[in-house]
């Protein structure tokens, strides 16, 4: 269906893709995998003819025998959306914000088919139904920002298959989504592909997506092809070290279980934070002990970030209690708060946004020292600890790579010798190989300095590798908490089980006012007989006993 031979794309003098060849047959799924900068997206745009004018392309792209690299803009416009369609990664912006979703899908239909407005609108509703959007009539009249991330991604798929394309390209279709929703989207994508019989080019940096959905895989690195073959071949017996690194990053070994340390450094009891209309944190309790890593997982909107911000505020919470190193935050004077802040530091997700671009690395790392009246003489030592040459102190963040910037952020966080480090998705913006390096650095620092980590991440294998204990958050509450090996090998809560298996869960259910908040999505609840069900409807489950799961019906609990 699509035949790419010896494709090279370069922006100015920078090559993005070099000598890439692949083909995808009708009904087949090819996974194109690689890190950012490996040329995946440039390839997709080259096929669609959507590269910016500054890019130059050589080689050949044939769609159904027709050469696309030399085709005129008019011909490409006719082919786009009809013969070939693309599903972009959705960071909120893939739909025009001012038009209704249904209208945008209908527009795609009317771009290629001479049908009346009404027919196109009806077809748009059918397509939304096809991709599993509930209440499609109503939803077609919604604006993009009224959709959740998963729903937008589904609507994009609906729009892409609207004209039954021969080739469907999905560019990182699940990257911005939560694990359980990812699984759902991949299912929808495969359904849509089956329905239309299209060839599917699946572009991702996530090996598990390829493993789940693709027939063949093509591994790219720095614009060059590293390895290609069927998914089984490549995943089972990777020939190249690069592929092996990718696979290793996906698999997880458990940490050895150890007795819990005695000293509690951070204790949270029944913490509540309600925003108007949203119960962001709704009764959360846990403790973190000295030298321990507590992994905090949960989908976006589950309240992880609000929880962290409540802890970092070092103020009196709306309800509940936060105790840092034995001091109740509600009782702190201004002076004490300043002192406690030294012991509680944070590293944010995106180092390019959390470092002031106008300050040098040295100034960034020195700032906490100066603020607390200490000598900035330690800056070179701190840089050395995070594996950066002392000369980097004079540079600005823009001149560093993503991994190096995160090292700077870590150096800043440890400058005051804190006892607790809060890590909010510290590696999720980084590529897998860099990610492994930063995780290694964090592990070493913890061992050397006896730090305690509160580690937020949505990457489950990563949490499994580095956390002693794991807390799973769901809609403002902890669904399950316990030692990592126990949570990962014998999960008690149905939500944890779904997360671990990456099972598909719906993402468009309404929030629940009483009883178990996981009920509408719960696979266990769906199968329960009426009598035990009623308890889920009326009674909010609490975390109980050793099992640590907030579920009325998990295996350790009497029915």
């Amino acid at each position: 269906m699509i035949d790419v031979t010896d494709l090279s794309v370069s922006f100015g003098t920078t090559p993005a893709v070099q000598g890439l060849s692949f083909s995808v047959a009708r009904g087949e799924v090819l996974g194109l995998i690689g890190e950012s900068g490996s040329g995946k997206s440039a390839t997709a745009l080259a096929v669609m003819g959507l590269l910016p004018p500054t890019a130059s392309t050589t080689g050949s792209i044939r769609l159904d025998g027709e050469e696309l690299t030399t085709a005129g803009e008019k011909r490409l416009t006719a082919l786009r959306g009809r013969a070939m369609a693309i599903v972009f990664q959705d960071p909120l912006q893939a739909f025009t914000p001012v038009h209704r979703v249904g209208a945008q899908i209908a527009e795609a239909i009317r771009a290629h088919q001479r049908v009346p407005r009404k027919v196109a609108a009806r077809r748009a509703v059918e397509l939304l139904d096809l991709v599993g959007i509930r209440d499609p009539h109503q939803r077609a009249r919604s604006y993009p920002h009224e959709f959740s991330g998963g729903m937008r991604q589904r609507a994009l798929i609906a729009m892409a298959v609207a004209n039954r394309p021969d080739l469907l390209i999905a560019d990182e279709p699940t990257t911005a989504l939560d694990v359980t929703v990812q699984a759902h989207i991949l299912d929808v994508l495969k359904t849509a592909q089956r329905e239309t019989g299209a060839a599917l080019l699946l572009i991702t940096h996530d090996l598990s997506v390829v493993a789940r959905a693709a027939d063949r895989v093509h591994v790219l690195r720095g614009g060059l092809t590293v390895e290609t073959g069927t998914v089984e071949e490549v995943l089972r017996a990777p020939r190249e070290t690069y592929t092996k690194t990718l696979i290793a990053a996906m698999e997880a070994g458990d940490r050895p279980a150890a007795a819990r340390p005695v000293r509690t450094v951070l204790e949270v009891r029944d913490l509540v934070r309600h925003h108007p209309g949203v119960r962001a944190v709704d009764g959360v309790s846990f403790d973190l002990r000295s030298g321990e890593t507590l992994g905090l997982v949960g989908e976006s909107g589950s309240g992880k970030t609000t929880l962290l911000m409540e802890i970092m505020a070092l103020a009196r919470p709306q309800r509940g209690r936060i105790t840092v190193l034995g001091r109740d935050t509600a009782q702190l004077s201004r002076r004490d708060r300043r002192r406690v802040r030294r012991d509680l530091q944070i590293v944010f997700q995106d180092p390019s946004a959390s470092l002031d671009p106008r300050m040098t690395v040295g100034a960034i790392v020195a700032e906490p020292l100066l603020t607390h009246g200490r000598s900035p003489g330690r800056v070179p030592e701190l840089l050395a600890q995070v594996g950066l040459p002392a000369a980097y102190a004079a540079r600005h963040p823009v001149h560093l790579s993503g991994g190096q910037r995160q090292r700077v952020a870590i150096a800043r966080a440890i400058a005051l010798d804190p006892a607790v480090l809060v890590l909010d998705e510290p590696v999720s913006a980084l590529d897998p190989t860099i990610r492994a390096e930063i995780v290694g650095l964090l592990e070493n620092l913890r061992a050397e300095r006896g730090l305690s980590y509160l580690f937020v991440a949505h990457d489950l294998p990563l949490i499994r590798r580095i956390a002693d204990r794991v807390a799973v958050m769901y809609r403002g509450r902890i669904a399950e908490i316990g030692p990592a090996h126990q949570v990962f090998t014998a999960p008690g809560h149905p939500y944890t089980r779904a997360l671990l298996r990456a099972s598909a869960l719906r993402d468009d259910d309404p929030p629940i006012a009483t009883g178990c908040r996981f009920r509408p999505r719960c696979p266990l609840y769906a199968e329960l007989p009426a009598a035990p069900r009623s308890r889920c409807v009326t009674e909010e489950p609490e975390i109980s006993g050793d099992s640590g799961a907030a579920c009325h019906h998990h295996p350790g609990e009497a029915p």
């Binding site: 893939a94 025009t96 729009m159």
Partner: protein, 317 residues
């Protein structure tokens, strides 16, 4: 926030703004000076009486004068000028004149600016972009008074050369009738419109450049929509949101800010009146014009809000 609450807030703001203007004018201006140069000098008692008659006597207590003014304002009476004319009637006339001028200037300026800005963004760094950019900076560098006179000279030359007398270079109306008014309107409206268009086009160009790189524009192209549809329905439509807010507020500011244009073309508008009122120390006129300006600005705010609702639907505010 409820519409009613907002309107009440706006009304309060108007009262506060014009009160401050009145107080400032009452403290700094000296209406007595209007009688100073007379020969023979009128007796102080006569001047006092005349000034008290129009509530401008600085020997009367400030608070009393203010209360008189406010209670008049509450009845819709803006007070009197130093020579006893009604401020309200005067301003009503002049507001009409200025409104015609500013509306025409703004509409032409907006259409021109939006078009040029959009085209410049679409042809980013090509000849149209460079040429329009050059013209824009030239227009911004030229003072209004120079621009107005260049337009007048050009028109006079054109009229002389062709013998036709289509465009009028002075006054607001001659023989009367809508066509005659239009002939008088073109030049002053252009004088207002061109610098406005220059500024708008830069705003619009930047807004368009932002959205032309947006993901949804790429999505629209990937659907197979023709280029023109992508630009108009997806890019331009979204880029209008920030630009219109700026545009609407300009209207409020222009209402008293087109003094130079009014003066050069002999239009007796609000901006010009404000200057003469300060010269003759007409406290009530100054406060009245401030009130009109405040109303205009708040109406602009309401209009901006309404336009946002239309252009950016479904957003929670």
């Amino acid at each position: 926030m409820g519409i009613m609450v907002r309107l009440v807030n706006y009304a309060a703001l108007i009262v506060v703004a014009s009160s401050l203007a009145w107080l400032l004018a009452a403290v700094t201006l000296d209406p007595r000076a209007n009688y100073a140069g007379r020969t023979p000098a009128p007796p102080v008692a006569v001047v006092d009486a005349a000034l008290s008659e129009v509530n401008l006597n600085d020997h009367d207590p400030l608070l009393d004068r203010y209360l008189t003014w406010v209670s008049g304002l509450a009845r819709g009476d803006f007070g009197r000028t130093w020579d006893g004319l009604s401020v309200g009637a005067d301003l009503a006339d002049r507001a009409g004149v200025t409104l015609r001028l500013v509306t025409a200037g703004l509409v032409v300026g907006a259409l021109l600016g939006l078009t040029v800005g959009t085209l410049a963004a679409v042809h980013h760094r090509r000849w149209f972009d460079r040429l329009s950019g050059g013209l824009v900076f030239m227009l911004l560098a030229v003072p209004t008074v120079v621009l107005a006179n260049v337009l007048i000279l050009g028109t006079v030359w054109f009229n002389d050369a062709t013998g036709a007398r289509f465009l009028m270079v002075s006054g607001e109306t001659g023989a009367g009738g809508p066509f005659d008014r239009l002939r008088h309107l073109v030049l002053p409206a252009l004088t207002l419109a061109l610098p406005l268009a220059a500024v708008f086009s830069r705003y619009q160009r930047n807004a368009m450049l932002d959205v032309l790189n947006a993901d949804y524009v790429r999505t629209a192209r990937a659907k197979g929509l023709p280029r023109r549809t992508v630009i108009v329905r997806h890019a331009l439509r979204t880029a209008l949101i920030p630009t219109t807010t700026y545009l609407t507020f300009t209207f409020g500011a222009l209402l008293v800010g087109s003094t130079v244009t009014e003066t050069v073309f002999g239009w007796h508008g609000l901006g010009q009146r404000l200057i003469t009122a300060i010269q003759t120390s007409d406290v009530n006129t100054v406060a009245g014009i401030t009130a009109v300006a405040a109303v205009a600005l708040l109406l602009s705010a309401v209009a901006a809000d309404a336009l946002q609702r239309v252009l950016n639907p479904g957003r929670a505010r």
